[in-house]
């Protein structure tokens, strides 16, 4: 048998055992482990131990000394590729900052280190110092120096939470806000609406409850607003000649414009609707984000050198080709505004209105025909907004139907709680099958009851219909809110811009340039419906990509 190059990911006992047997067979083995040293001893999971043995003993010495095994600890996978019958991997091996050849295990460092942090080796049972041996049975010292605390690493925009929260604790509100604005112009708005994934990761959650990061961000932004302080407008003295076109004045487009201005580029932002803000303005209801608050923030962004042209739809009022001709680069941030269809009979009847359109009408102050009962289909945040708006509009009864149970509902728990508090009725394990009409108007909805079937491989249980469980709910209005897709019809066929099968646009993950040079994109149109902070993060990175692109072109021309 010829010698093979074997790579093993995972330094748990199973991985180590595989490494030893492969190495014994004469193969060249690389053993990769994410932790600073090989993991703890483990108990078996498929057989019952007989008293004495217990933990699987791993022969660390044999692994470490085996000539055919190369160890890569503290390593993270960056890229994996399979081609021509072999694999290629790119890994980052984080430095230990302690030379294992010199260290004599005296522990003097541990005694003096002032930093005590979550002990990941012991599953958080206690604390360890920033310099530590991680796993005592292997005892490889290392200094733990992550680039970012977990909250910052989890935030899609990587806001420097630790710093801005610390500045608040010191009473330095203006400085805290400036820290936020280094990466995000929307502190007022995001501080109100962000579902704050950072809080889910926050280390304080291991002690009791996470830090209320989002509300703190809102606090400093509100502090500035309530004290009538004009936020600083800081842009370079001189702008470059090149101008950028931005399509869509949503969170992604406006953030892109803000950071372009900071980098010295003026932009013109084309917006189809009468007012800017995108889903901030036309999706998220007033009671969560009041328009005057939003407009304060947008006006300040525009002051940086972003020219806004509302009521201008690209593809109708101005063509995409004109933008390509007149501007040095284009940023597409048109969001995802087309509601998905239920695909059931009767969906075209009067009284059936898509969730996003319903919220848009409400946000524009249009008169809503709020008579009788309304049914909302879906379990996400858009469904919660539609329900809570319906309740405010004065429908007699508001029902939300969802095909799984409350536990599986993707909406944020606090939104579900608020909706329940407001008296909205939830029916779980129900799916619509037909809209029943009378003279072209809906009058009832036929539904099926569902049950959760066997868990699939991932452990999630699928809803399956219960046969013969059909029933009818009478209602005057039906609001499907089951997801959105981007509308990219404005893109001309011959532009060469590739559109995915989800109607989204692909972009390079670093520069945010699409497959067409000079055309950039981010936000919901790139990712599919997401959250606003992610759209802002994309907008900021795209601005950097655009600046680099224009500079490269200028250099090439010179």
């Amino acid at each position: 048998m010829s010698k093979k190059r074997v790579i093993i990911f995972g330094g748990d006992p199973a991985g180590v055992a595989a490494a030893l047997s492969q190495a014994e067979a004469g193969n060249q083995v690389i053993l990769v482990e994410a932790a600073p040293s090989f993991g703890g001893r483990r108990l078996p999971q498929t057989r019952i131990i007989n008293g004495e043995s217990g933990f699987s003993a791993v022969d660390w010495e044999a692994v470490r000394k085996h000539p055919n095994i190369r160890l890569l600890t503290n390593a993270e996978l960056l890229k994996a590729k399979a081609a021509d019958g072999s694999f290629h991997f790119r890994l980052r091996q984080r430095t230990p900052r302690v030379d294992p050849e010199k260290c004599n295990d005296c522990k003097a460092c541990i005694r003096v280190c002032p930093i005590h942090m979550y002990d990941d080796f012991n599953e958080g049972l206690g604390f360890r110092t920033a310099i530590d041996f991680f796993n005592p049975s292997v005892g490889v010292y290392n200094i733990f120096k992550e680039d970012m605390p977990i909250c910052q690493a989890t935030c899609p925009a990587n806001l420097d939470i630790r710093s801005y929260v610390g500045l608040i604790a010191d009473g330095k509100y203006a400085e805290s806000l400036a820290k936020i604005r280094e990466r995000l112009p929307f502190a007022l708005s995001i501080g109100r609406v962000c579902p704050h994934p950072c809080e889910g990761a926050c280390n304080r959650g291991h002690v009791d409850e996470p830090i209320a990061i989002c509300a703190l961000k809102r606090f400093v932004a509100d502090w500035e607003m309530h004290h009538d302080i004009d936020p600083p407008v800081e842009v370079p003295e001189q702008f470059h000649d090149e101008k950028v076109a931005i399509i869509g004045a949503g969170p992604a487009g406006l953030t892109c414009g803000y950071f372009l201005a900071k980098a010295g580029y003026r932009s013109v932002c084309f917006e189809a609707m009468p007012e800017p803000g995108g889903m901030f303005r036309y999706g998220i209801p007033e009671y969560r984000l009041p328009t005057p608050t939003l407009m304060r923030e947008i006006n300040w962004i525009l002051e940086h050198g972003v020219e806004l042209r509302c009521n201008t739809r690209i593809g109708k009022d101005v063509t995409f080709e004109e933008l390509q001709r007149d501007y040095a680069a284009i940023f597409i941030g048109v969001g995802a505004w087309s509601g998905m269809k239920l695909r059931i009979p009767g969906e075209d009847l009067e009284g059936v209105v898509d969730g996003v359109k319903f919220l848009k009408d409400a946000n524009m102050g249009k008169k809503i025909d709020a008579r009788g009962k309304v049914i909302i289909i879906g379990g996400g945040n858009v469904a919660m907004d539609a329900a809570r708006v319906s309740w405010r509009e004065g429908f007699d009864e508001v029902h939300v139907l969802y095909r799984r149970t409350k536990k599986e509902m993707p909406a944020s728990p606090w939104e579900i709680d608020a909706a329940e508090e407001e008296g909205i009725k939830f029916q779980y394990l129900v799916a619509p099958v037909e809209v029943i009409g009378d003279n072209g108007r809906m009058k009832a909805l036929k539904c099926l009851r569902m049950q959760l079937g066997e868990p699939d491989a991932s452990g999630r249980r699928r809803p399956v219909p219960i046969e013969g469980s059909e029933f009818v709910i009478e209602a005057e209005t039906l609001i499907p809110a089951i997801g959105q897709r981007p509308d990219v019809a404005f893109v001309p066929d011959d532009s060469g811009l590739e559109i995915t099968r989800w109607n989204t646009l692909d972009a390079d993950p670093e520069t945010f340039m699409t497959n067409v040079p000079g055309v950039f994109t981010a936000g919901d149109v790139q990712t599919g419906p997401g959250i606003a902070i992610a759209a802002c993060a994309g907008g900021r990175k795209a601005a950097a990509g655009i600046a680099r692109y224009i500079e490269a072109k200028r250099r090439a021309a010179a």
Binding site: I8, A14, A18, L43, E101, D119, G126, R204, R392, R461
Partner: protein, 295 residues
Amino acid sequence: MYEKKGRYIVEFPDIPSERQHQIEIDVEERRRNYNEVELGFDEERALKEARRCLSCRRCLGCALCWAECKPEAIDFAMEDDIVEVEADMLIVSSGVERAQERIDDKFQLGSNLNVITDLQMERMLDEDGPSKGLVIRPYDGEVPARIGFVQSYEAAASGVHRAALCLAVNEAILLRGKLPEAEISIIAGELTGFQQEYAADLEKLADITFQEAAVVSVDAGEKAEVEVTLATAQGEECRSFDLLVLLTQPQLSAEVKKLTSAVGLEVDYANFFADGDGAALLATEKDQVQLAAQR
């Protein structure tokens, strides 16, 4: 700073404050208008809340350790390496990540110190663990007299469920060795299949009781005991434990998912369990990729 008792019990005298809540308007004030519902923090709440932050310091670069280190082993200038690797064969071992974020709040993991996960129990039982192999209640360092293992996930693929139960039984056996007097119970939704499969092994277990039941709620008792309400076939029942251990559901780490999808493989955690004694390596649909069986 907090006081460290040994290396495992931590108190936070400087940051005992609870999470602050935003000011909200009442439900009655919300009907038929669009007034903002949440009004944010006032300055007092904001300051209190901001002071709760642990500021998750990693190494500060203060160099105290460097000054103490006689053999001069510490070198702050060492940098990360980017390593490029070619291989003809790939073996994936999934590790032991658990779906902790999906554990329902009702189990009070995190808020009740005497509720821990099975992985934490595994660490505690290990001689290299946080308490050098001594099993203690995190709350006060007392030795627990009544220990309950309860299933904390709703449903899982059978191989995964079996793995979670096996781990619990193994922990119970080690616990029995350390605490001969303790009352040890294992409580899960479905036990029959497992008990049949492992009948021969389970027969030998001294005084570890099994109960088929689902957890309804978990509450903190007056003396830091954990009160568990169970739904059994006979109706609801209340049981009290000194230490509650949550059986968690094993899942694939993001890293393994990224890796396997990059080479075009669909795997889930159940794939990693060999049937019976099975071979140490499991084949996949790609002949150059194998899985290291969890045993």
